[in-house]
Structure formats: C-alpha cells, structure tokens
C-alpha cells in the first residue's frame, strides 16, 4: 500500500488555518472525521498527542510526521496539511514545520503502518519535491505532485 492509495483531496488542508501544533493536528483529524475515515477525532487526537509527548515528530527541513495507533480507525488513514508560514512543532532543527503528514492506524495493522511511514521517510529525502508541496495551492495539486506529474 502506498500513500496515494489512501490519500484523497478532501483530507488535504492547503493552507492549514491553524497556527499551532495541537490546532493543526485537530484540523487534520476533523478532515478525516468528515471524510468518514475516523470515528472519533478526540480519541485519535489523544493518541497522537500522547505520542508527541514522548518525543516530537517534527523532523528537519520543515517536515512533521505525527502518527499514532488508535481504535478510532478501522483502516489506516492519512492527511496532509501545508502551512507556508510554518507551525512550531518542536522540530530537531528548531525550524517551523510547513509540511505535515498525519498517519492514523488501527492497532492491528503494524505492517501497513510501517510501510506508509517508510514511504514518507523516503519522500522527505527529495528536497525539491518537499519544496513543491509547500508551494502547492490546492489539494489537487498536492496529489499531482506526489504522483510525479507536476
């Protein structure tokens, strides 16, 4: 399974309206709830923040990958948020996160969860791709960039 197998335009926030970490995570979770992919955004939020409390998933170069396992989903779900200004995520290099990949997985799907996070880890190795995503003006454009068509 790849990110593009589960990513739809209605779970991509361009731009993110929130200005802080908790608000951005909740904004993305609400998109997943609205799209019918999670049953309870509060439960998912608690799971993501519990993981963040152990150590921030804010990586270098403006990327964050908040993730959690929770029974609030039946199958793995992903959402993307883009903030041109950046959001303080407690990242390794101290820079704000502009590209946020949120992954929520059910407890019994570790293999798929690892595969999806690995794909995102690989994407972050393409600086030009990440720059293009940050510059994207619409969810449609984000999908096209990920497909390698822009």
């Amino acid at each position: 399974m790849s990110l593009l197998d589960i990513l739809t335009e209605d779970v991509i926030a361009v731009p993110l309206m929130s200005r802080d970490k908790s608000g951005a995570i909740m904004e993305l979770l609400k998109l997943l709830k609205k799209s019918g992919q999670i049953s309870n955004e509060d439960e998912a939020y608690d799971a993501v923040m519990m993981r963040e409390d152990k150590g921030s998933t804010g990586l270098e170069k403006g990327i964050a990958v908040p993730h959690a396992k929770t029974a609030a989903v039946n199958k793995i779900a992903a959402a993307i948020g883009i903030s041109a200004e950046g959001i303080e995520f407690g990242s390794l290099d101290g820079n704000p996160s502009k590209l946020i990949f949120l992954i929520i997985a059910p407890p019994a799907q570790s293999g798929t969860h690892v595969a999806l996070l690995s794909e995102i880890a690989r994407l972050t190795q393409y600086p030009t791709l990440c720059d293009e995503l940050v510059e994207a003006k619409s969810p449609e454009s984000v999908i096209s960039i990920l497909q390698g068509e822009e």
Binding site: L59, A115, Y126, Q147
Partner: protein
C-alpha cells in the same frame, strides 16, 4: 516429482494477494509433487530507516518489531493451515531484514526453482517503481517467478484439489 520444478517458494506478506498466492502455490506443489516453502520477512530495514529519520523513537521501533514478529507467526501459521487442508506439509521460513534481499537469499540458499508471489501493488507514482520491494525481488532472484492473478480461478482450483 517433476524434474522442472522441484522446490517452490511462496512469499507471504499478510496481504490478500499473498494469501491467494499461497493457495495457488499449494495447488501447484500438489500437482507437480514439488516441495513448498513459505517465507515471511519482517522488514527491519524499514524500521531502521524510521529510527534514523527520527520518525520512530527507539522504544517505538521495538514495539513495532514485536508486533511484526507476531504478525509473521500468525500469517505463516495461516499458510501452514492452507497446506494442511490439502495434506501438504509446508516449510515455514521467518526472516528479518530487507524484503528483496531476504527473498533473494532464501531462493539461493534453498535452491528454489520457482518463486510464487501475489499480484504487485499498483504503481501510483514514479517513485513507487523504485521502491516496491516485491518487484525488486522479482527482478533480482535467479529463478523463474510466477505472479498469481485471477482470484476466482485460484479459489476454484484450490477447492477442487484433493
């Protein structure tokens, strides 16, 4: 036993495509009177990448590793049962490392004649084709490879098998 195919390896990764491949491999093995082994690879290479990229914490990596090991046991026993239902004994192989690397190693070490795999994932982006581990294995193993498709036909074939 057939002279052409004596040893078959089916790669299982927990997907429905892999389960179908296992059913087909059982049919093939019984028909050709060939030995059948089933391989599951715990992708510790991916876990290592996640720790290095700081997406995973060390204890998180350990938690997922344990869960993946449990998945491997569960899937392999499911495959064993698929064989037992048709009175076929399947050798179970549980390895960890890079998926393509372990498949290739297993084919060489066990002198496999035919690798059976499930249908490959749909290519969604240009990058996918560089990273699909099963596809990489298919390209690099020294033996012939069979990709199982047509679900209805496989179920029918398995059901008919004595």
């Amino acid at each position: 036993m057939s002279d052409i195919i004596r040893k078959i390896l089916v790669y299982v990764d927990g997907t429905e495509h892999a389960v179908l491949a296992a059913h087909y491999a059982v049919c093939l093995s019984k028909t050709l009177d060939a030995e059948l082994s089933a391989l599951f690879v715990v992708n510790t290479q991916a876990l290592g990448t996640l720790v290095r990229s700081r997406i995973f914490l060390e204890d998180e990596e350990m938690e997922y590793r344990n869960e993946l090991n449990a998945d491997a046991e569960r899937y392999l026993h499911h495959v064993k049962a698929i064989g037992q239902e048709k009175s076929l004994d399947i050798t179970l192989l549980n390895e960890s490392g890079s998926v393509s690397g372990e498949i290739k190693k297993c084919v060489k070490e066990n002198d496999i004649d035919l690798l059976v795999i499930g249908e490959l994932s749909r290519i969604q982006s240009r990058r996918d084709q560089f990273y699909d581990e099963t596809e990489r294995a298919m390209r690099s193993v020294p033996c012939s490879v069979l990709i199982v498709k047509d679900e209805d036909r496989v179920w029918e074939m398995y059901d008919r098998l004595k």
